[in-house]
Amino acid sequence: MNIVLEVLVSVLIVIGAGFVLVGSWGMVRLPDLMSRLHAPTKATTLGVGGALLASMFFFFGVNKTLSVHELLITLFLFLSAPITAHFLSKAYMHRHVDPEKTLPRPGRLGWSTYEAAPGAGDGQQNEEQS
């Protein structure tokens, strides 16, 4: 394998591992769940992305064919991280956050974790009316 590729792979491995470690350290260090959520969604995802890119370049150097498998995992992680974070924060708010005290008021209707949307779930509204 040529030296440029070798340096590139090594640097990507070190950067990826560093970000993974920083993300997990942030989860231990930060005080409450909402700030903890920032560490894994960003740092860890990029860390794994770096590791996968490193593996892509490494197998390109070894087999001389471009393996695009890894891009698929990276893409999947980048798409799924915001959804996981959204679900985790919704569940946390449902259990532990008081919407009257801590959250800004969005307008006439509240946040969807606490209040149902108008028109959604018509069956339930009919039940309440009857």
Binding site: V7, G23, V28, T44, F58, F59, I73, H96
Partner: protein, 89 residues
Amino acid sequence: MIDYALNFGLVAVSLALLLNLYSLFKGPSTMDRVLAVDTMVINVIALIVFYGIRQQSVMYFEAALLFAMFGFVSTVAYCRFVLRGNIIE
């Protein structure tokens, strides 16, 4: 050179997993523990990828892909369980 970088990477990811284990045991609320498990899954993917590079085998990617998908689905299912009380309505 890649060997040294890999050694560093494996040690760093293992340390990260130990930190996750600590926050899994410490985490005051249920959601903290779910978050810790989710992060653990992502870190295990990194570990699998590094191990695949060390073994020079492409077979580990299927494992990594399956881990990514099952981790995502299980986290979402757990959050839905906490939010709604059941998973499939």
